[in-house]
Every structure is written in C-alpha cells, then in structure tokens.
C-alpha cells in the first residue's frame, strides 16, 4: 500500500515540535515536558521492570500517554478467528481512527496478563481503511467469479435475496440452502448469529459439522477418551518435568500477549520443565526456547510414536498397572469381547499383530527421518520422566492420516500412565477456560441433514448421491437436494481457504449447479468475487456489540465492549440489520427482532451472561469500563483428573467407560463404511502411509512434501490485505538449502510451486529452518488466478487436495506433493 492510502499520513515539512503537536502534544506541553525531564532526570517508576506496583503505575500512566489533544478512546476488539479476540483501545480524532493502543488495565503479571494484541490487531487501522472495503450493496454483472459488480440499493438487494430464497425453498426445500463455514467475525450479537436466526425462522438450512481447524482431532479423540480434543490448561505445563509437543507452535498460533502462548512462556520461565518440540520446521516457538527440536517428515508422527512405544514396551517402561486398570486393549487381556486375537496394541507394536511388522525404532526412522538414536533417547526420556505433559497442535491432524496421528500421540501419556495427574495431559491440545458468554439466540434448525464441512463442493456437484456411510452425512441417510443457495457470511472459505481452488472455481462458476451465491463481507476477498449479491458488513470498530475471549486465551477470561469507535463511512450495515431487512420481506421482522434493537439485544445478551457470571458489573458500568477481566473461572486444570482418582465413579464417555486404546466402535465403522482404496479406519491408532505422503509413488514426479504454516502476519486469510503485514511478513515458499541447491534457487528468486492441481508463484526463501524434502507456504494468501492456470497470489490451496480424510471427512491440507522450479 502506498502512503496515499494511509488516512493520517499527511506529513508536510515540519519540525520536531510540530511533529509532537500533530501527535497531540502542544508546543507548551512539549517544552514543559522537556523541562520536567531535565529537572527529574530519572524516568518514573514505571520504567523499572517487574513488580505489581510498577505495572499498576504503567497501566495508569499509559492511558495518559496515549491521549493527545482532541483524541478520544473507544474500546473494541480484534474479532477474527485466531481464538484470542484481543481487546483494542481505538484512538479516534476527527471521526477517524488514528491509532490502536493495547489493553493495559490492572496489574500485568503471568497470572493476570494484559491482553496485548499481536501484530495483526495492532494493524487494524489499515484493515479498517483498506482499499478493499466494501461500501454499498452490489449485484454481479459479469460471469460468476469474474468480480464485476454494480452498485444497487439495499431495497433491491433485500428483494433479490428474498426472491432467491423463496425460489430455492419452493423448488428444492430448505435442505438446499447451505450456510458456508466462515469464522471471520466472532462478536456475540451482530456477527454470525443473526444469519442463523433468520435462516432458522425461514425453515432451516443445511448445516455442517467439523471445522477446517480441528475436525480430525475432535472426531478422533473421543474414540480414545470419550470426549473432545481439549487437554489440560497450558498453565499446568509449569508442573511438568518434560513437555513434549507435536506440530505445536504456541508463539505462532496463540501469539496474543494475553493468551496461551504467553502462558506457555510463563510456565517455562517458572523453571523445571524440559521442552521437546516435534515439527518439520524450526518454529518461532523454538529459537532457543526449546531444549530439543526433533525435525520430522509431515504426516509421520504416528510412526515416531510407535517407534517410541516399541522401546517403552520392550524395555519395560510402560505403566502396566495403569494400563490394566484404566484402559482397554493395551494387551490381549483387556481386549473387548469380539475383538480378534492378537489385535491389541502390544502385539501390534511388537509385530505379532495382523501386519506382522515390528514397529522398531529402525522402522520408524526410515519413515520419519528421525535418527534411531534420537527415537531411543526420546523413549528413555518419556519412560523415565514424570510428570510428562504431551500435547499436539492442529497441524498434525490436518493430514490424510490425521485421525490416526491424533490417537497415536495420545498413546505416549497412556503407556506411561501420565494421565490425570499434576503436570500431565492427554496428548490433546492444551485446554481453555470457557466463559459461556451469551450471544443473540439463533433458534432451532428444522433441517435434519448435516454435512461434513469439507464436502460442500461435492454437495453442490453431486449432492443427492451423498450418503451417511460413504460421505459422512449425518442426521439423514442421504442428502435430499444439492446445494442451490450459498449463504456466505464473514468467511473466505468459498474461494480461498477450501482446497483445490481451481476445481472449486469451476464448480462455483457453473450457475446451473449452485444457483445463488450471497456474500456478506467487509472486504473484497477472493470469495466475495463469486457473489451474485454482495453486501457490505460493518467492521467491529464501526459496530455496537460485545465480544468474549475465545478459545486461545487460556485461563484468563474477559468480555470487551465494541463501542462503535467510528461511524460507517458508506452504506455498510451490521449483520443484524441486514438480516432484519431480509426478514421483513418474509413478514418475519417482528419474530426476528422480538421488538428489540441491536443495542437492546447487546444489553439483553450481556445481562444473560452476567446471570452466569454474577461478578460482572452491570451493563452501564461495563460500558464505562469497556472491559471486564476475570481469572480463576476454570475448574479443570488437569484433564481426566476425576477419572484418574476414581475410574469407577468418574467413567469416561467411551462405551467401556475407560480409555479405549482399542475402539470397538471404530472396528464397527471400519467394517461398515464404504472407503476408497487406501483409506484406513482401524480400532487401534496406527501409522498409515497415505496418498501424497513422501512414500507415495507420486513422489517420483513431485518429490517435495508441502504444508501450510501459520505465520504471524495473517489469521487464516484475514489481514492479508494489510500492507504493513505483507511488508513485515512477506509470503514466500520456505525451502531447505539442500533442496534449493538442487534447483539452483536462492532467496528472493521467483519460483513456481506446482503439482497436478495447479501452480502458484512465490519468491523462494531458502532457510535451514525447514527440513530437507519439505517446503512450506504461509497459509491464507489471497487466491489470484491469472487466467493461464497460475495463481499469482501464492495461495497454498491452489495446490491442496479436496480428498477428505477417512473418518472425519475432513481437510488434509498439509498432505501435498509438489515440486519447485525457477519461474
């Protein structure tokens, strides 16, 4: 972005004093400030590090420091889907946002951190005033996907949408309306909720289960533990002696200064814990903060765990008493009735199971690329160190065999009995305290069918062929109708975050298939280009609402007021107002509003939240404070603590009530479901060599494994169009010097990254931080096909496959084979 687009960058020639005046410091104040500096010489107490008193002073003084002449401050939040919802203090002058200041109320400590927004939230001003902001309702005038639009009135937009909804419902039924997965706006009243509320009033819509983030872990973990993917809190790491995590970079994916990333740093600073991180990349969570990095080929985590298990079993480092009491299927004696002989975990690992293959460290080494000596050493550390805290990020499971890896990792704490005790974890991702904040009620969806989130392009192209046993359809055996009406709110899945974008593009462009695409957005994203009607949403800084901390804030909880820091500049409307307008076309306005305005709903919802959290101030006081922070709301620091104490009284949610190493339910699914060749669902967790793994025959043609990494500079695709972030976190394909040398590439070279699905153009970044044989692209860059089959936007999803994983029918977006060549 050039300087002209910065709303406040109007530097003329001026002196330092003038500069300060523009910052809100008057000439006289400046002179006074200088003399104060001279007189007192030392800076105030706040400049001393540490100590509650210092932090308290800093908090108070910073507010003073932030406010200049004519400036006002309003509270808002970064409501995108990183999971943190960091509060922002929005500084406004002459009706324009001129600066963002961080949350700094109360004492800043590890237990009560200031929720400091990350690099993204701090750049909010540029997103708010971006050239891509949508200003008015528009209708498509070119071919779908071409991105040609014409301005229309809100009346015409509402009429057109209502007519298309009526036609869809009359002709195909409500099952043909799909609410697309979208996570761009997490605010409690005028975010996603009004969309659901309206569609439910209209008779319902085809919903989805699972998410692009965590579908496989959330699907697979319950087969082992009876419940979902959340483990012990990050703060519990402080009580561990060994922290072992797979594909987890808390300081990338949980980078808020008041979230789990900071909690992790604090837990490590407490001393005592040795940190081992398994990852194809030397991530920004390492950099010397780790005790050991174990580089591993993507998609092979299960093989590493099995190699470790082999050592634990053969060297008698397993907790046999724990396995006998708390688990099913470790050895033959605890196999459930009906399980075949020798189908237990121990026999599988030792090579006495059906595959007759011993999972030795030598075997695991060839698959993972991890040296035998490292595998043996890890096994000894894991077997000999208590408490052991094992966890994983979501990258591990975004693979063709993700469900298997998730459960395979869980075997390490299970085998060693590091479950339900202080300093331990289940192997899942670290947990989070949920506040239970109340949003706008959405009503009940009358459509029974539910689609796996990842199969919507199939539901457009071959909807009525899709069944429960073949495609994971839930609620019904078979879809009644293909998707005919696409409702896309605050999401860029449609043409950016979904896989195989060139295929997706072709399906979306066919107007005979999906007949109507509605997009409600605040930026002209790649997905917005596919709209038939495109409506401009408000951004949080222009809206009146409230938001709660998300799932990445760890043990802290907060509510933050969205105080409409600035008025919308054009014709944008909130999602509440948009949906009210459409409801009116159906004579449902009264039912939609229940007589309340958006503002009144915000107050109503806040008061409902307050009923559950009585320590909250009343609504007026909340608005005055702008933020309410709470600590100690969490009750379950240690995952499965109750079960460990009393496994009879506190049974797990599995059929046996125990940890199911062998899952009879999975055995049944494996027998009944129709799976394509190569897909494996198995009662035991087991390493499966999949399509487009490094061992696939296709590797001869495309020798590099590609995965998407979560960089600092975007939340998925949000913030892509912020020039500061593209400057400081530029997109590039990361490639090891070993692989770069073979291709004669150096940093900065323009390269093609390609496979049978497409080609992207990117600069190369040659770095030893990525493992040889593996390349990575920061996910979320905006898809920009040039009409000649090449994506000039550098979007990884031009290269990813739409083939779903076996069990969750989810996104294997890190399972890709590609090659790289000079462009």
């Amino acid at each position: 972005m050039s300087e002209k687009t910065l709303p406040c960058a109007d530097h003329g020639e001026y002196s330092m004093v003038e500069h300060l005046e523009r910052q809100g410091v008057s000439r006289r104040e400046f002179m006074t400030a200088c003399s104060v500096m001279t007189a007192t010489m030392t800076l105030p107490a706040l400049l001393r590090s540490g100590g509650a008193e210092a932090a308290e002073t800093a908090a108070g003084k910073a507010a003073a420091g932030a406010a200049g002449a004519g400036e006002t401050t309003a509270w808002s939040s970064c409501v995108v889907n990183c999971g943190s919802r960091c509060p922002l203090k929005v500084v406004v002058k002459d009706g324009q946002v001129i600066r963002i200041e961080p949350e700094n109320t109360g004492v800043d400590s590890c237990g009560t951190p200031h929720v400091r927004a990350c690099v993204r939230g701090r750049s909010m001003r540029l997103r708010l005033y971006s050239e891509e902001r949508l200003k008015t309702p528009m209708k498509r005038v070119g071919a779908r996907g071409e991105g040609k639009f014409e301005r229309i009135s809100w009346d015409e937009a509402f009429d057109t949408i209502a007519a298309a909804l009526k036609k869809t419902i009359d002709q195909y039924g409500n099952d043909a309306i799909y609410y697309q997965y979208g996570s761009g706006t997490y605010q409690l009243v005028a975010g996603r909720a009004p969309n659901f509320r309206l569609l439910n009033l209209l008779g319902g819509y085809l919903d989805q289960y699972g998410t692009y983030s965590s579908a496989q872990i959330r699907e697979a973990m319950p087969y082992t533990y009876g419940s979902g993917g959340n483990g012990s809190y990050m703060t519990e790491v402080a009580n561990a002696k060994l922290y072992l995590s797979f594909g987890n970079s808390p300081l990338n994916t949980r980078q808020s200064g008041g979230g789990k990333g900071y909690e992790w740093q604090c837990a490590k600073d407490a001393g005592g814990v040795r940190t081992i991180l398994v990852d194809p990349m030397y991530t920004d969570s390492m950099l010397g903060k780790e005790d050991e990095w174990v580089p591993i080929r993507p998609g092979t985590d299960a093989a590493l765990c099995e190699g470790i298990a082999y050592v634990l079993i053969t060297e008698n480092k397993v907790d046999q008493a724990f396995l006998d009491t708390y688990c099913v299927g470790y050895d033959e004696k605890t196999l459930p009735a009906g399980a075949p002989p020798k189908s237990d975990y121990k026999n599988y690992i030792l090579g006495h199971g059906a595959d007759k293959l011993a999972k030795t460290p030598a075997w695991a080494s060839q698959i993972t690329g991890v040296p035998v000596s490292t595998i043996v050493r890890l096994a000894h550390l894991i077997g000999d160190t208590k408490p052991l805290f094992v966890s994983q990020g979501y990258g591990v499971q975004r693979q063709a065999n993700g469900e298997q890896s998730v459960r395979a990792i869980a075997m390490l704490p299970i085998l060693t009995g590091n479950i339900g005790l202080p300093g331990t974890n289940t192997g899942a991702r670290e947990g989070d305290v949920e506040l239970g904040a109340v949003g706008l009620p959405v009503g009940k969806n009358s459509v029974k069918a539910v689609l796996p989130f990842f199969l919507w392009t199939d539901a457009i192209a071959r909807g009525t062929e899709m069944t429960a046993k073949r495609d994971g359809i839930r609620g019904v055996d078979k879809l009644k109708a293909p998707i005919k009406f696409m409702w896309n709110y605050a999401g860029n899945v449609l043409a950016n975050q979904h896989s195989d974008l060139n295929r997706t593009d072709a399906i979306l462009r066919d107007e005979k298939k999906c007949e109507f695409v509605l997009v409600i957005e605040n930026q002209m994203t790649p997905s917005a280009r596919y709209a038939d009607i495109l409506l401009p949403d408000l951004m949080a800084q222009e809206n009146f609402d409230y938001a709660a901390d998300g799932y990445a804030s760890g043990t802290g909880s907060f509510l933050v007021a969205l105080q409409q820091a600035v008025k919308p500049r054009y014709e944008e409307k909130s999602s509440y107002e948009i949906c009210r307008g459409i409801a009116k076309r159906f004579g449902l306005e009264e039912k939609f509003t229940e007589g309340r305005t958006q503002e009144q709903w915000v107050e109503w919802c806040y008061n409902e939240t307050r009923k559950k959290n009585p320590e909250l101030p009343d609504f007026a006081q909340f608005q005055k404070q702008g933020i309410a922070k709470m600590y100690g709301k969490g009750k379950a620091n240690i995952a499965l603590e109750g079960f460990r104490k009393d496994p009879v009284k506190n049974k797990l949610g599995t059929p046996s009530g125990k940890i199911e190493i062998y899952s009879a339910r999975l055995a049944k699914i494996a027998a009944e479901w129709e799976l394509p060749p190569g897909d494996v669902i198995s009662p035991l967790p087991q390493y499966v060599t999949t399509w487009e793994s490094h061992l696939d025959a296709k590797a001869a043609k495309y020798p590099l494994q590609l995965y998407g990494l979560h960089g600092h500079g975007r939340t998925h695709s949000t913030y892509h169009n912020v020039a500061w972030l593209r400057e400081l976190h530029p997109d590039a394909v990361l490639i090891n010097p070993v692989d770069a040398e073979k291709r004669k590439l150096k940093t900065g070279d323009a390269v093609r990254v390609f496979n049978d699905r497409g080609t992207v153009l990117l600069p190369a970044r040659v770095t030893p931080r990525i493992m040889p044989g593996v390349v990575a692209i920061p996910q979320g860059a905006w898809y920009k096909p040039n009409g000649k089959g090449v994506d000039e936007g550098g979007c990884i999803n031009t290269l990813t496959s739409h083939r779903p994983s076996p069990l969750a029918k989810a996104n294997p977006q890190h399972t890709n084979l590609v090659d790289v060549a000079k462009a």
Binding site: M1, E3, L6, H11, E13, Y14, S15, M16, H19, G24, V25, A33, C34, M37, M41, L43, L47, R48, S49, A58, K61, A62, G65, G68, R99, E101, P102, A117, C118, V119, R122, S123, L251, G257, G261, Y262, Y282, S285, M286, L287, G288, W293, P295, S365, G369, P371, V372, T374, H712, G713, L728, H729, P730, P737, T747, T767, P768, R769, M771, P772
Partner: protein, 205 residues
C-alpha cells in the same frame, strides 16, 4: 547526564514484529520506513545419515530501533548539525528544519536507524517516543510486545539489571558507536562477526 536506551530480551523475541507495527501505527510509517526493525539470523546445516536427518540449525531475531548511541555516527556525519544528542536524556533527535535530506546519516549508521521520508525529503527516526515518555508512558514498542521482551529507560539501570551485552550477530560491533542498548542473548545467539548464518530479510542493496 541520564542516557535513555532500550533493553531487548532475545531469548523471548518470537519475530512477530508487533513492536514494528505498533511503531508504524504510532508514527504513520508507510511501507519501507521502519523506526524499529526486526531481522532474523539463521544458519546451520543438514546431513543425511542412513535415511535420517541430522542438523545443527539455529535461528533468532534481533529487534532494533535507534540505539541513541553514546558515539552516534549519524551526529558526527551530519553536515548541517541537524542531528543532536539531547543533553538531558541522551536521545538522538533530528531537527527537520536543519535537515537537507542528504542521507549521509543513513549511510553512516550501522543500525539503519535513520529512515528517509521520501514525501518530505527529510530524514526521520525513532525519537524514543519522547511524547509518550514525557507523559509518563512507555514507548509504543515496549507497550506492544506480547512477550514483554522490550524495556526502555536509563541505560545504566538496564545494564545493572541485565548486563552489558550490546551486540550479537548480525549487529555491528558495539565499539563502533557505543549503542545505548542492552541485550539478553538467546541460547542461539552468535557473537558479532559470526558468518555461519544469513540475515532475513536480506539487506536491501
């Protein structure tokens, strides 16, 4: 005289660059102009042994603004006396009425602290957020850091707390300009002059 300066804890820095964006937001800095800069220094090699990989990779980031040096090269080289150290707190500031935009200071500074503003054809740089500190607040970068890795204050006090290290690779030898900078190294940090690593983003020619 008090000398103000920055402390940066390299063992905490994650390279997220929130400090840079907070600075850009506060000072309205367009793309290309950065009063604070974060560089990656990374190196190490890989060796395949029996189908598995062995490595000795290292990486870390260094976040640098203006070091308000005790012996500032920019002040020495400025032909118009536009750059000067404040007598009371040692901050190096630019008087833009004197600056002629010759960019000699930019060439002289080993830390790239002077940042040329093409729009006004004058040099600009980190002023230690003098407006904020005068009002009792912290510089924007300090307030912003999610890892609490940056501090600002009397450099003598910072040295008492954190030691006297003022340079690691790829920074210049501290003897050159005597920066008012205190660093806590990361376990990966390499000494000045180290050649095993490379800098990213590469320095523009």
């Amino acid at each position: 005289m008090t000398q103000l300066g920055f402390f940066v804890d390299l063992s905490k820095c994650t390279g997220c660059k929130t400090c840079q964006v907070a600075c850009k937001d506060k000072n309205n800095l367009e793309v290309g102009r950065n009063f604070r800069r974060v560089s990656e220094y990374a190196g190490g090699s890989w060796k395949e042994v029996h189908g598995a990989w062995q490595q000795d990779v290292f990486a870390y980031y260094v976040s640098i603004a203006c070091n308000h040096c005790a012996k500032p090269a920019c002040v020495e080289v400025c032909p118009k006396g536009a750059l000067a150290k404040r007598a009371d707190n040692g901050l190096v500031l630019i008087d833009q009425q004197k600056c002629i935009g010759c960019r000699d200071c930019e060439d002289a500074c080993p830390y790239d602290a002077p940042q040329y503003n093409r729009a006004i054809r004058r040099m600009t740089k980190c002023d230690g957020c003098i407006d904020r500190i005068s009002a009792g607040a912290q510089p924007s970068c300090v307030d912003a850091c999610p890892q609490r890795a940056i501090e600002f204050g009397d450099v003598a006090e910072l040295r008492r707390q954190h030691g006297s290290l003022a340079a690691v690779a790829p920074l210049a030898d501290a003897a050159t300009t005597l920066p008012s900078l205190v660093l806590k190294p990361s376990r990966n940090s390499r000494p000045v002059g180290d050649t095993r690593g490379t800098v990213y983003p590469p320095k523009a020619e």
